[in-house]
């Protein structure tokens, strides 16, 4: 019977990706000298699982590669081979090769040739000639010569329930040579109490074979995790590796979704709690419906209570539902260990990476989209921020640079910081470069904050040469754009000679926004809270008409251009005179604008609805939301408004 395995292939790829992550993580901790007792075993099991899968699906190259890798890892965990730095590097490279092989298999393209080279290297490390051609059902050579092995095979009682048949194992062994099997039935209960789904049998086997130890072990490939197995040469010379595996589950994997899929794993507890809440909400709602039935004015307090209950449950439901999509940042922080080490090594620098707050959770969509910008920031810090050991010693710093990645919750946001204790950025140099690039004029007065914000402009880069790591000047503005697109903000803090910190603020979710509701004429608009600096009432003396450019408001000596939202949106506004209305100061790109509005309606969390779904993108608007009264209100895009006000050239009040 042909079983169609293709549906399981995707699962295999996803699991293989997770196994490789575990392998890499353990190898890195090995390199850092933090290997635990189980580290080597864990690494071995990962390779082993991938090998089993590779063979099941017939991925030749992958199977052969993992076979050799597994052999080496086995020697490693038995202490026969020492985990030298060179070996760990080789193993890390093997992880890369395996990743490439998996990608090739997933995309059904040819495996990259590099795998054969690395296989050779692994062979050399094993100090054995190239592995025999892999054929799990290879008919045993008929020669009577060979070694005798004493094998003990004790499967766990639930072996059958896992769909495993010990007979197949014995059959495989028999094909390798001459097998004498002695079944130990001592544990077998009487027929009445026998549970046909439980395995009570154990075997003592004697195998005479010319096959290598690896091949013998291969026969136990699928049962290894659920049986106690020991294979020893009968003529006991060197104590061979006892493969006594505890009854263990698959290697634990972090809660992480594979990059190529759009599905995710969620803790069952989260889902259960969500379902409970929905139940409670339904109950609260039906209570309210009952009150409404034959409603009289006396029942009003009851109705109010019921509504309050519904509101409470709805709010918690919203919270919980959002949490379902949250995953810890460790899923992206994880890759940076390797990145930092490899890049630092390539540049001849010594850098230690400290990570804290990796369990901080973020919406899955945000996590995926912040990964690349963060990678760039980390690369930047390694490439430009931190100096070479020699330079550092000259500056009186320890030769090893420190790079710190931190994530934490603050208010309704998640903060991610990338901090280094490197050379920092020279404010004067930034300014000079900005003037050179025409981003600012020589006479412009800019605060230090504003000068630092110039880094995020397109085309800006103070790197003297273009390294292949970064430094092309295309990075920082893309970082800012990505963060802005997520509804967040990014800022730079730096001190020359001491280092830099890039601080990213991100919303907890993309779908919900903290906003300020305001009224212009008869229309309600929402401004994202993250863009608001303050709202003020303006005195007449603060308003000035700058020749031809429109009104400007001076706030604490800073001239801020005034934007009349009514005019920009062609709504008749009540307020023509800035001194009579309210002004909301907003920030974008390090600059400020003053928006003239009629009334502030309060702060609120709003659900963002896309305008593009049924309509199209409108400049100055990021989306819409539904207000409590059922009307649609537009959410303002400060970047767009800034562009519109600049482009139009503010015309003076008529």
């Amino acid at each position: 019977m042909e079983i169609d395995l293709s549906q399981f292939r995707d699962t295999f790829f996803q699991e293989a990706a997770e196994l490789l992550e575990t392998m890499e993580r353990e190898l890195l901790s090995l390199r850092a000298g933090q290997a635990g007792g189980d580290t080597l075993n864990a690494i071995f099991r990962c390779a082993h699982s991938i090998k089993a899968g590779a063979r099941t699906f017939g991925f030749e190259a992958m199977a052969r590669f993992t076979h050799v890798l597994e052999s080496l890892l086995d020697r490693l965990r038995n202490g026969e081979v020492e985990a030298s730095a060179g070996l760990v590097e080789l193993l890390l490279r093997s992880v890369d090769v395996l990743r490439a092989l998996i990608d090739a298999a997933a995309s059904q393209s040819a495996p990259p040739p590099v795998w054969e080279d690395v296989t050779e290297e692994l062979d050399r490390a094993l100090a054995i000639p190239a592995a025999p051609p892999l054929s799990p059902r290879e008919p045993a050579p008929d020669r009577p010569a060979g070694t005798e092995y004493d094998i003990r095979f004790e499967p766990a009682p639930e072996l059958f329930r896992l769909g495993l048949d010990p007979f197949l194992v014995l059959r495989d062994l028999a094909q390798l040579g001459t097998l004498a099997a002695d079944a130990d039935c001592s544990r077998l209960p009487s027929l009445e109490t026998l549970d046909p789904e439980t395995c009570y049998l154990r075997w003592r086997l004697r195998l005479k074979t010319a096959a290598a130890m690896d091949q013998i072990r291969d026969a136990f490939a699928f049962v290894e995790d659920v049986a106690a197995i020991s294979i020893e040469p009968a003529a006991a010379a060197v104590p061979a590796a006892g493969v006594a595996a505890p009854v263990a589950g698959a290697p634990t994997t972090a809660l992480r979704s594979a990059a190529r899929e759009s599905s995710m794993r969620v803790a069952t507890g989260k889902v259960d709690r969500l379902i409970d809440l929905v139940g409670e909400l339904v109950i609260a709602q039906s209570m309210a419906a009952q009150i409404m039935n034959g409603f009289t004015a006396e029942r009003l307090p009851l109705l109010r209570e019921a509504m309050a209950e519904i509101e409470r449950h709805t709010r918690e439901l919203q919270d919980r539902a959002m949490r379902i999509r949250m995953m810890p940042v460790s899923s992206i922080f994880g890759r940076f260990q390797r990145l930092v080490h490899d890049t630092a090594q390539a540049l001849g620098k010594q850098i230690s990476l400290e990570i804290s707050g990796e369990e901080t959770e973020l919406d899955k969509g945000v996590v995926e989209r912040i990964a690349d910008p963060l990678t760039h920031l980390v690369r930047n810090a390694v490439d430009h921020g931190i100096e070479t050991p020699a330079e550092r010693q000259q500056a009186g710093k320890p030769p090893e640079g420190r790079l710190r990645l931190t994530a934490y919750h603050q208010g309704g946001n998640v903060m991610i910081e990338v901090a280094d204790d490197g050379r920092g950025l020279d404010t004067a140099r930034i300014r000079a470069k900005a003037i050179e690039r025409g981003l600012t004029a020589a006479g412009d007065e800019l605060s230090e904050e504003q000068i630092h914000a110039l880094i995020f402009r397109p085309g800006f880069s103070t790197a003297d040469k273009i390294s292949d790591v970064s430094g092309r000047g295309v990075g920082m503005d893309v970082v800012k754009k990505s963060v802005d697109a997520l509804g967040g903000a990014v800022a730079l803090q730096t001190a020359p000679g001491r280092g830099s910190t890039v601080r990213i603020k991100l919303p907890l979710t993309l779908a919900i926004l903290d906003g300020l509701l305001l009224r212009v004429g008869a229309q309600t608009y929402v401004i994202p809270l993250v863009s608001i600096v303050e709202s003020i009432r303006v005195r007449r003396e603060q308003v000035r008409d700058v020749a031809g450019c429109g009104d400007v408001i001076t706030v604490r000596q800073e001239p801020i251009p005034l934007v009349r939202l009514g005019r920009m949106f062609q709504i008749s506004s009540e307020t023509a005179d800035p001194a009579a209305g309210l002004v909301v100061i907003v920030e974008h790109d390090g600059r400020h604008w003053a928006l003239l509005v009629d009334e502030l309606l309060g702060q609120q969390q709003v659900v963002v609805k896309s305008l593009e779904t049924n309509f199209r993108k409108v400049e100055g608007i990021t989306g819409a939301t539904i207000l409590g009264d059922g009307r649609a209100a537009l959410i303002l895009d400060i970047a767009g408004i800034a562009a519109m006000s600049r482009g139009e050239g503010l015309s003076n009040a008529a």
């Binding site: 229309q523 779904t613 309509f615 199209r616 400049e619 059922g630 009307r631 649609a632």
Partner: protein, 165 residues
């Protein structure tokens, strides 16, 4: 498009396949659109205007949590604007993957119109671009202009895209 052979109520027996059209009124004229494109008919509700859009885009409404744009067909056909009353409706249609609302004076009937009854529209030099007219049918005494709603509303998109680029 459903192709049905109908027997009319008076037993005359319609000849050939026919389709159902939702007819509505704009000013003096009666128009029709394929019923299968119609998602629902909604009473007039508060429309939120969108800045810097052509005059026939009245704004957006809340349709059970989805933000749906509303096109003022009167403006699109260059008719004079009118006051909205309780008969004013928004016909919500599915065009491609988008949900769009059309503001009309009033909704009339759902009519079965046989393919044989549809004539091609002469160029009236009138207010409706003939590109958007898929045909005309005379039902009883009334002439109904059948609109190609996809073309009508997608042309908007193309024009809008161009102005953005």
């Amino acid at each position: 498009m459903t192709q049905q052979t109908l027997v009319a109520a008076d037993g005359s027996g319609a000849a050939g396949p026919s389709s159902q059209y939702l007819t509505f009124v704009l000013g003096e004229e009666q128009y029709g659109i394929e019923i299968l494109k119609v998602q629902e008919i909604k009473g007039y509700s508060a429309i939120t205007p969108i800045p810097n859009t052509p005059p026939h885009i009245k704004g957006v409404i809340n349709l059970r949590g989805t933000v749906v744009p509303v096109v003022d067909l009167r403006a699109k056909f260059s008719l004079a604007a009118t006051d909205y009353n309780k008969f004013t409706v928004i016909i919500v249609v599915n065009v491609g993957e988008k949900v769009i609302g059309m503001l009309v004076d009033a909704v009339s009937d759902v009519l079965d119109i046989a393919a044989s009854e549809i004539r091609t529209a002469p160029d009236l030099g009138g207010r409706v671009d003939t590109r958007f007219i898929s045909g005309m049918a005379t039902i009883g005494e009334r002439m109904t202009v059948l609109l190609d709603i996809e073309r009508l509303l997608s042309a908007d998109e193309a024009a809008a895209q161009q102005s953005l680029n």
